[in-house]
């Protein structure tokens, strides 16, 4: 951050990108602020949801979704309870957590990126071994984790992809969340959290290969489930925009037929995910896969690549069918039956989906 040249960074953290809005909010905000919060809970909610301030400053909405969810999230952090943002990929979990940290602490960079290889030193502390050997255990030889730094400074720390962290490392957070203190036995002491410290975790509980949170840890979080896009049009728009960006990045040519096929893929995904057809008349069984917006994006991108390199240059149903099938059928027995029921019961009935139905039969 500090060692990077201004203007060359690809993406500035939220508190820098929206510095003006935050400053304006801080100016007009006359409500009670919890200890060491930069803004009051009301102002934080306004920052996320957007609005026009008393002095005429327009705050852009950062999160488009139910107001209720943002209010619960902010209120949770105000009660010094940790917040767990849960949802399938592509529901703006990371985005929301970054903006919450920026608005509350003015710093969204205290971050633990969860992976299967995340070790305990990433959530507790590590050692500067040169100093440790030379001077013995001391504060100076300690390398604090973002969590420890946030505790000392009274700031928010973010843990991304909490469920990808191995369970034993996850459980290191229990003490931090319940005692608000981190013991350092090597120094015979502990670091206690300063007012304003709190933790926002994001997690994905439907993906494969994640570590279920222990119930002890789960209990210490307040859970906010971020929903998938509310309407078909919203989701189509998100998919179309992301596919466009990816397509340019992968240098795929723009193909005709895209808009219609994207709508159909998103419709199939939404219907199977929600267990009911778009017209709300027929229920369908849901497969085991998540069928997230992110998967719809990858199915369409894959279809574009197929159409561009092996097809006739037009995105057609047959370019997408294999991808859709792969996304839906995760469990070979159960999901296949679900897919066939859906294909026979729903797709077959749609007159203008003939090509899609035929392509789906072909690949099954």
């Amino acid at each position: 951050m500090s060692d990077e040249q201004a203007g060359t960074v690809l993406r500035a953290p939220a508190e820098e990108a929206f510095a003006e809005e935050l400053a304006a909010l801080e100016r007009v905000d006359d409500r009670v602020r919890p200890g060491s919060w930069r803004l009051s809970p009301w102002a934080v909610a306004t920052y996320l949801l957007g609005g026009t301030l008393a002095d005429g400053t327009v705050v852009t909405p950062k999160y488009v979704g139910p107001r209720r969810l943002v209010e619960v999230a902010v209120a949770t952090l105000a009660t010094d309870r940790a917040l767990l943002l849960l949802g399938v990929p592509g529901t703006a979990k990371t985005w929301v957590s970054e903006h919450l940290a920026a608005a509350i602490s003015g710093d969204s960079t205290l971050l633990v990126q969860g992976t299967a290889g995340t070790g305990e030193e990433a959530v507790r502390y590590g050692w500067n071994y040169a100093r440790l050997l030379a001077e013995g255990p001391s504060r100076a030889a300690l390398v604090p984790s973002p969590v420890l730094r946030a505790m000392a400074a009274g700031q928010l720390v973010r843990v991304e992809e909490l469920t990808r962290i191995p369970p034993d490392v996850q459980d290191a957070l229990i003490t931090v969340l319940s005692e608000k203190a981190l013991p350092i036995p090597e120094l015979g002491g502990q670091t206690q959290a300063v007012r304003g410290f709190n933790l926002i975790a994001t997690a994905n509980d439907r993906d494969r290969g994640v570590n279920e949170l222990s119930s002890a840890l789960r209990r210490r979080f307040t859970t906010v489930v971020l929903p998938l896009p509310a309407t078909l049009d919203q989701e189509v728009e998100i998919v179309a925009r992301r596919v466009g960006q990816l397509g340019r990045a992968l240098e795929l040519p723009e193909l005709p037929g895209g808009a219609q096929e994207i709508r159909r893929v998103v419709t199939v995904f939404r219907e199977l995910r929600e267990g009911v057809t778009a017209d709300g008349r027929t229920k369908v069984r849901t497969p085991t896969g998540t069928l997230s917006t992110a998967e719809a994006i990858s199915v369409v991108t894959h279809g574009l690549a197929l159409a561009a390199h092996f097809g006739d240059g037009v995105l057609r149903a047959r370019d997408l069918a294999a991808g859709v099938l792969g996304a839906v059928v995760r469990d070979q027995v159960a999901d296949r039956a679900v897919w066939r029921e859906y294909r026979e019961g729903v797709l077959r009935e749609r007159a203008d989906w003939r090509d899609f139905y035929r392509a789906a039969c072909e690949f099954d």
Binding site: V72, T76, A78, R81, R285, C361
Partner: protein
């Protein structure tokens, strides 16, 4: 008439307690106000016809939620209801007055007047003024709160009675007066003239009649209430408490000449005679908008507010503790620490949203985020149990008859079916109008669990004949009261009950039976709900056996039912969808079954097979266009046959979850053979394969059982089949044979005696296949005797007698055909 003198005579002091119907805060405030006022008369907004019934409200066996149901004599279908919950201000006022021995009366416009107004052509659109103005929405909007419920909760419901118990009512009266400031109702001398009021109040209020000449419904009610209050004062009461909707307070407080009110009411049309009764109500039904024109969606929450003596964290904690207990009972662990955190979160949320205390929205948000850990499924349980909290009221059995009883009595009279305690048998011929109507009534009553008549099974063979055993148990009178909760006529109640049963039904088969009952009881209105539930259950259920159980009843309903136009289409669509799902799931459902499971599945296989055939013939498409090879197209019967063929081709059971039992494979082959979809040659090949030495003898024996279950006559007609069977039996090793004997005995025991004898004779005569084999081994046809039968056959088939009919293809009768014959 000297009005001034009159007014001076009346010294009684009137206190108007404006409430929100079903508002727990209002109820608490009313209780406090009445205790402080100690009135000597209590007047309540409600139908005065029910005054006589008010005494019953003091009894311990009248348990809310209950409702007053009023209907014109002989027309229970037009009933209006005034529901009361324990937390209704009106109920609190009634109970208070009865406990204190103070006269209590209803003072609203009589229900009869509402019925009369509804009959008028111009008044019909108003539905006798069921739309009540929503002053709360207007006030909330003025206060900048988009959610009127939340606003009222904050300002009124959540507040505890202040030191001065009358203060809240004064505040409400003031606010309402402000709201109705530009409203001429209640202003003397301008009856029924409305200037164009703005949106909000004006839009919600029942407007004046055409051209402003007729008084609005609200005006009539208020005029009537004013007159009643005057009457109470004239009767000498000193302290009169009036409990009415907050909206009416300014109009009732306005000084207005009695003459003008009387004039207004004089124009009322003639009123029909009306009957009123108490009926048990439920929390769920409080949401309905009727007499009071106010519905509430969260009775359980209101009950909690009403029961809580304080509004602080303790009340919240109690609610969350109940939620936690509920969740723990449903295997969702919740710790005490989480309850504490939920209370804190709810309070913080309330502060963030600028509300004085946590309301329902905050409480639910906190419960979702903390107790339920984000799970909507867990929250649904909380909603169902604590927010709605289904409770059923009770009404004493000796309370005046409910409308349903009236309707039943009327039907009993017109259908000439007297309720008699001694049992008798009733034979109905459904082709007669009277008998058909009787059958309908008895079927509907059975749906309502009023088992006056029980169908006697096995009597009479035609579908037009029904036999019932009638016996009127006096206890049924109580059941009629209970059934009153579902509707005020037999038809409406049966339909309501059916919809409820459809919601509770656990299996598709139950739903299919309900669909059938819809037709028997002629309740087409209830059918769509049942079918929708069935389609949903079928779509979500993965148990093919359960779906297979549902199909036959549904197809029966489709075939014999006199469903009208659109209904038939919906029924058929659901049946076809069901058949399709059974077909897709057939292979998996027949895999890895135990002996008993296979036997049960065989019955289902047969039932579905018959049902699919009926479905086919019902749809009118012919069997001729066969293209069974393509499973994606073709008629349901073709697709079903393809699925059966697939089943027949499966491997035998070689262990758990690996194969299809011989019983089912054999049965599938036989069903296909009987339908003419397999030739005898193909069937012979299959039998040979099943009986070949590579297979397990036990599997082969059960294959035979399945194959022969459709009747054994084909063994007499096709000597090669018998030969194959004979060869196999001789080749079975002795030890195996002993083990197989019970299986074989069972297979052959099911055959008809004549067939068994015939087979025995064939075998005794020598080796069947060796004696030439094939169908030609049969004795030559006696042409003369065959010709003699032809005219009769022609007659039966409806063929013209002159031309010699082509002899019908040889078809071996099935056992099922014989049973039906």
């Amino acid at each position: 008439m000297n009005e001034g003198e009159r007014e001076a005579e009346m010294t009684g002091e009137v206190t108007l307690l404006g409430v929100r119907h079903h508002g727990p805060g209002s109820a608490r405030a009313v209780a406090a106000a009445l205790t402080a006022l100690r009135p000597d008369a209590v007047l309540i907004e409600g139908p005065p016809e029910a005054d006589e019934l008010l005494a019953l409200a003091g009894r311990a066996d009248l348990v809310p939620p209950v409702a007053l149901l009023a209907h014109p004599v002989g027309e229970p279908a037009r009933a209006l209801s005034w529901p009361f919950a324990a937390f209704s201000p009106e109920w609190v006022a009634i109970r208070h007055a009865l406990a204190q021995g103070v006269p209590v009366r209803f003072v609203d416009l009589p229900a009869a007047a509402r019925f009369a107004l509804a009959e008028e052509p111009a008044g019909s659109d108003e539905r006798a003024g069921q739309a009540e103005p929503d002053p709360i929405a207007v006030l909330a909007a003025a206060a900048g709160q988009p959610d009127p419920e939340a606003w009222w909760e904050d300002v009124v419901e959540h507040r505890l009675p202040d030191r001065d118990p009358l203060a809240p009512f004064e505040a409400i009266a003031e606010a309402m007066a402000e709201l109705r400031a530009d409203d001429p109702v209640g202003t003397p001398g301008s009856p029924g003239v409305h200037p164009g009021t703005g949106a909000g109040v004006g839009a919600a209020r029942p407007g004046p009649g055409p051209a402003g000449t007729r008084p609005g419904f609200g005006e009539l009610r208020e005029a009537y209430m004013r007159l009643q209050i005057r009457a109470a004062r004239r009767a000498g009461h000193r302290r009169i408490a009036v409990v009415c909707g907050a909206w009416h307070v300014p109009a009732l407080a306005a000084p207005r000449a009695a003459g003008a009110d009387r004039l207004l009411l004089a124009a009322l049309p003639k009123r029909p005679r009306t009957e009123v009764s108490w009926v048990p109500w439920s929390h769920g039904r409080l949401a309905l908008r009727s007499g009071y024109g106010a519905g509430i969606e969260s009775p359980g929450w209101y009950q909690h507010l009403f029961d809580s003596a304080d509004r602080g964290p303790a009340a919240l904690a109690r609610w969350f503790a109940r939620a936690a207990e509920l969740l723990r009972g449903a295997d969702h662990p919740v710790s005490a620490a989480q309850v504490i955190e939920a209370v804190r979160l709810a309070e913080t949320l309330a502060a963030l949203r600028g509300r004085p205390v946590a309301g329902l929205a905050e409480t639910l948000d906190a419960a979702r985020a903390v107790l339920c850990e984000g799970s909507e499924i867990a929250l649904a349980l909380v909603r169902e149990q604590l927010v709605v909290g289904e409770v059923l009221g009770q009404v004493p059995a000796d309370a005046p008859a409910v409308p349903l009883q009236h309707d039943l009595t009327r039907l009993q009279r017109t259908l000439r079916l007297r309720p008699e305690p001694t049992g008798r048998e009733l034979v109905l011929d459904l082709r007669k109008e009277l008998d058909a109507a009787r059958s309908l009534l008895l079927h509907r009553l059975r749906l309502l669990e009023l088992d006056w008549g029980r169908p006697v099974a096995g009597r009479g063979s035609g579908t037009f004949k029904e036999v019932w055993q009638l016996c009127w148990d006096p206890g049924l009178a109580v059941a009629v009261v209970t059934a009153g909760q579902w509707g005020s006529t037999v038809e409406a109640a049966a339909a309501g009950r059916l919809a409820q049963l459809a919601g509770q039904a656990a299996t598709p088969a139950e739903l299919a039976r309900l669909a059938e009952q819809c037709l028997l009881a002629d309740l087409p209105a209830a059918l769509p709900a049942v079918l929708a539930a069935l389609a949903d259950r079928a779509a979500l259920g993965s148990d093919t056996a359960a779906l297979a159980d549902a199909l036959p009843a549904l197809v029966r309903a489709l075939r014999y039912g006199d469903v009208r136009g659109t209904d038939r289409g919906a029924l058929e669509q659901v049946a076809r969808g069901l058949a399709e799902r059974v077909r897709i799931g057939l292979g998996a459902a027949c895999t890895g079954l135990s002996g008993a499971g296979a036997a049960a599945m065989r019955d289902r296989l047969e039932a579905v097979h018959r049902a699919v055939a009926l479905l086919e013939s019902g749809a009118g498409s012919r069997l001729d266009d066969r293209s069974a090879s393509d499973t994606a197209s073709g008629s349901p019967a073709d697709r079903w046959a393809a699925a059966l063929a697939g089943l027949a081709d499966r491997e035998p059971t070689g262990g758990p979850a690996t194969g299809v039992p011989g019983l089912l494979r054999g049965r599938a082959v036989r069903l296909l053979l009987d339908d003419g979809r397999l030739t005898f040659g193909q069937a012979r090949r299959r039998l040979g394969l099943a009986l070949s030495g590579a297979g397990e003898p036990a599997d082969a024996a059960s294959w035979i059982e399945g194959f022969l279950a459709g009747g054994g006559a084909l063994l007499l007609h096709d000597a090669q089949l018998l030969g194959l069977l004979d060869d196999w039996l001789l080749a079975v090793p002795e030890q195996e044979f002993t083990a197989l004997l019970p299986l074989l005995r069972r297979a052959f025991a099911e055959l008809e005696a004549g067939v068994r004898r015939g087979i025995g004779a064939r075998i005794a005569a020598g080796h069947p296949a060796a004696a030439g084999g094939g169908p030609q081994a049969e004795p030559p046809l006696d042409q003369q005797r065959a010709d003699a039968a032809l005219p009769t056959v022609r007659l039966l088939l409806g063929l013209p007698g002159g031309t010699p009919a082509p002899s019908p293809p040889a078809r071996i009768p099935r056992q099922s055909d014989r049973r039906a014959a």
